[in-house]
């Protein structure tokens, strides 16, 4: 057991910290820090800055841009990025479809897609969930029927995050309706400009447009866009959902928001004598409590990455997702309370309101983050995994 980083890792951390705090465009980091909405251009620009420095896909195979880092180094990379308010590379590209193509794709698919995926020349969307297949993903109904060299796809996907920007979408489709539900699924890559693909926005309760429905009406997809074998899609899906444990808990960004919350509370006077909200013992103790929980979560993440070096996820990974989303939500709720009356100003802008941007963003962010315990394997699914695979219940 040892507390300190090795010299190499300490140097590694210092270099990344230097890079993230000086080389990523300041406008992007400002929006992240103020919890605003990034434009598509900012997301792409930020991603490419990372990719140019070899920092977008460090966990990929080396021949496709990977860096062969240790799990601890990947953790440090992820934490430093968030700490510096740098937007991580687009997860759909780098954490989801990229590793799948690298693992299961043909050589042609790799050459065609991986470099553009790493550089966000292709913006990938995710087409897994369906209206009647939420936590029960395998019950999906979007169908692909073979027609000559093509597949004909029909159906509907939903909760497609940032689908409005998508160039391509990786989908799970039913290619055999007559077998056990997991056995009849394939993974198809679909060009979103294909005729018959329609993206419809879903407005969320925070007023934002972040997710979409994607409709497929007789969409013709070349057979070469199938990843892996026909009817092996569940294998790819499980690989995709399970392979990436670094960054499953957004520790770094939640820590940053909590640190900002302290600044905000310290800047909020509650009395004519200059007492601030940070002097309020109930607020301070809530902050201390959340800091301690976050520390415990970060340390657990460090334990998990250290123990997943053999490629198999540590069984405690579900703890990271479960507790990570809870703490993310809890911090966002505290910000709502710190904002106080100013939280009413959510629709205001710097032109129409004298309230601070963080105050105006507080409640939309809180409401938006209710999704954190639902998307990507709900907390109920995580509890089921813990009870089943760890406790044997």
């Amino acid at each position: 057991m040892q507390l300190e980083l090795s010299d190499d890792d300490a140097t590694f951390r210092d270099e990344l910290r230097e890079f993230f705090t000086t080389k990523v465009d300041e406008d992007i980091r400002t929006v992240v820090r103020e919890r605003g909405e990034l434009t598509k251009d900012q997301i792409v620009r930020g991603h490419r800055t990372l990719n140019e420095a070899g920092l977008a896909v460090p966990h990929w195979p080396v021949e496709w841009g990977g860096r062969d880092w240790t799990p601890l180094q990947r953790h440090i990379w992820h934490e430093e990025m968030q700490r510096a308010a740098v937007l991580p590379p687009l997860a759909f590209n780098t954490s989801m479809i990229g590793p799948v193509i690298a693992q299961f794709g043909t050589q042609e698919q790799k050459e065609r897609f991986l470099p553009k995926t790493a550089n966000l020349d292709i913006w990938w969307s995710q087409g897994f969930s369906e209206p009647d297949a939420g936590s029960d993903l395998a019950s999906l109904r979007t169908s692909a029927v073979r027609d000559g060299d093509d597949w004909i796809v029909n159906g509907q996907k939903t909760w497609t995050t940032l689908g409005q920007y998508g160039d391509w979408i990786f989908t799970l489709v039913r290619t055999d309706p007559d077998v056990k539900k997991q056995a009849g699924i394939s993974m198809l890559l679909i060009d979103m400009t294909s005729p018959g693909v329609e993206v419809r926005p879903i407005e969320l309760i925070d007023g934002g447009h972040e997710v979409n429905e994607v409709w497929f009406s007789d969409v013709r997809v070349p057979a070469e866009n199938l990843v892996g074998e026909v009817n092996s899609g569940w294998t790819q899906a499980k690989f995709l959902l399970g392979n990436e444990r670094v960054g499953v808990a957004p520790v770094g960004s939640v820590k940053r928001v909590l640190a900002q919350t302290k600044e905000w509370a310290a800047a909020t006077t509650t009395d004519a004598d200059g007492t601030t909200l940070l002097d309020d013992p109930l607020v301070a103790s809530r902050i201390a409590e959340l800091e301690n929980e976050l520390l415990a979560l970060e340390l657990t993440a460090l334990r998990v990455v250290a123990n997943s070096a053999d490629g198999k996820p540590h069984p405690a990974s579900s703890v990271l997702k479960l507790k990570g989303s809870e703490l993310q939500q809890a911090v966002s709720e505290l910000v709502v309370d710190v904002a106080g009356p100013a939280g009413l100003g959510s629709g205001g802008t710097s032109e129409t309101s004298d309230l601070e941007q963080w105050q105006r963003r507080a409640t939309p962010a809180y409401l938006n983050l209710r999704k954190a315990s639902i998307y990507g394997g709900s907390n109920e699914v995580q509890r089921q995994i813990i009870a089943g695979t760890i406790l044997g219940l």
Binding site: S129, D132, G134, S135, D136, S139, T158, W159, I202, E203, L204, I205, D206, G207, T268, T269, T270, A272, L277, D280, L282, V283, R286, Q329, E333, V336, D337, A339, G340, P341, A342, G343, L344, G345, S346, G347, G348, T349, E351, T352, S353, D354, L355, T363, P364, Y366, L367, N368, R370, K371, S373, I374, Y375, S378, N379, E380, R383
Partner: protein, 388 residues
């Protein structure tokens, strides 16, 4: 001690429920009324519904007959508030009738009461209370907006924000720091020179505004130069209690909607209600709701009682809102979680219930804030005795 409504009160409830259900049982109607996106175009509610509420006498409830009201009290206000909450009607019943109207009724001159309260009751005049200031936190006093006096002329200077429904209000009731200390109340015609209003949406689809006052001539509400701090606090207390009833209505429907969803939605081939981990959480929501309902009703009775004093009413409002606010977080969060993805969409109702319940805290203070106030007093008494 009696928690039951009399026949007249039950009739009021039925009438209010009938009107509001007709207007908003189709959730799309609420979406249309509040508008979509971030902008704050339009008043944020349906003036036709507001007019029907006025016709039914709902806007006149708490006011005396001589002021143009119907002389009912906190119980009747609470009944309507609960019905407003059940459909989260966007009409500004709480901020206009209870908060602004209540304050005018408390401190206005006969003439002012007749004009403002009478106009409000008739649905002809919508006032707004401009009290909060950037940096204030539910204090009953004004700090950055100040009033200066020159003979009989009073002039206001400063920024009020957020002002609920302030951009479209017909009349502003403005609090301001008085030259000799204390906080005075004034009425301001929003169309006069020096008033600049910019409105926007609140997180629940309601409206608020920044109101800049630059040397605006204002009319004292009630006695010129009198300190209205206590009256402002009392009006916020009454609003907390009515809001508690409103929240109870909203929480009830959020729970009902969730229960219905658990019965109808299938996952893994069976209805969600097959999963005990989910139904037990719904049961815990019910527990939160019933406890909150008890405190809301009790605080209403404390306000309605002729034998309670201002301090008791303050405490009751604080207790009620502290409990309701916490229940609202619990129920609002769980209602979304038990729905899954659909719960965070604007098309489906339950997320908007959660948004509204959260937004009430911005207006009235979160539970930690009120718990802190209660904590500072625990040494002063032995037990809490609810029976008057």
């Amino acid at each position: 001690m009696d928690f039951t409504y009399d026949e007249e009160q039950l009739a009021l409830r039925d009438a209010a429920r009938s009107l509001l259900t007709k207007s908003y049982s189709d959730f799309e109607n609420r979406r249309k009324a509040v508008g979509t996106g971030h902008d704050g175009d339009g008043p944020g509610y349906d003036p036709a519904v507001w007019g029907q509420m006025a016709e039914m006498g709902l806007l006149a409830l708490p006011f005396s007959e001589e002021d143009g009201g119907v002389g009912a009290g906190p119980v009747e206000v609470g009944i309507v508030a609960e019905e407003v909450g059940r459909v989260i009607a966007p009409e500004p019943f709480l901020t206009t009738v209870v908060l602004a109207g209540g304050l005018v009724a408390a401190v206005g001159t006969d003439e002012q009461r007749g004009e403002i309260v009478g106009g409000l009751a008739a649905g002809e005049l919508v006032p707004a209370l401009a009290h909060a200031e950037p940096g204030s936190r539910w204090q009953p006093s004004a700090r950055t907006v100040s009033a200066t006096q020159d003979g009989d002329t009073w002039t206001l200077e400063g920024v009020k924000e957020p002002v609920p429904y302030g951009a479209t209000a017909d009349l502003l009731v403005v609090s301001a720091a008085l030259p000799d200390g204390g906080t005075g109340l004034f009425t301001v015609d929003p169309s006069v020179d020096g008033v600049e209003r910019t409105g926007y949406r609140t997180p629940d689809g309601g409206r608020a505004a920044r109101v800049r006052l630059s040397g605006v001539t204002a009319t004292p509400l009630g006695e010129a130069g009198a300190d209205a701090t206590e009256a402002i606090a009392a009006s916020y207390d009454a609003t907390r209690v009515a809001a508690a009833q409103e929240a109870v209505g909203a929480m009830q429907v959020a729970l009902d909607t969730t229960s219905d969803y658990l019965k109808s939605r299938k996952q893994f081939g069976v209805p969600l209600k097959t999963f005990q981990a989910l139904t037990f959480r719904a049961a815990d929501m019910y527990v939160s709701l019933e406890l909150a309902r008890s405190l809301a009703q009790w605080a209403t009775m404390v306000l309605a009682s002729p034998s309670t004093d201002a301090a008791e009413r303050r405490t009751a409002a604080t207790r009620a809102w502290a409990q309701v606010s916490r229940a609202a977080r619990h129920i609002g969060q769980e209602a979304i979680q038990l729905h899954g993805g659909i719960g965070v969409t604007a098309e489906y109702s339950v997320g908007s219930y959660t948004a509204h319940l959260t937004t009430l805290d911005h207006l009235l203070g979160d539970s930690r804030h009120h718990l802190g106030a209660l904590a500072r007093g625990v040494a002063d008494y032995d037990v809490v005795d609810p029976i008057g």
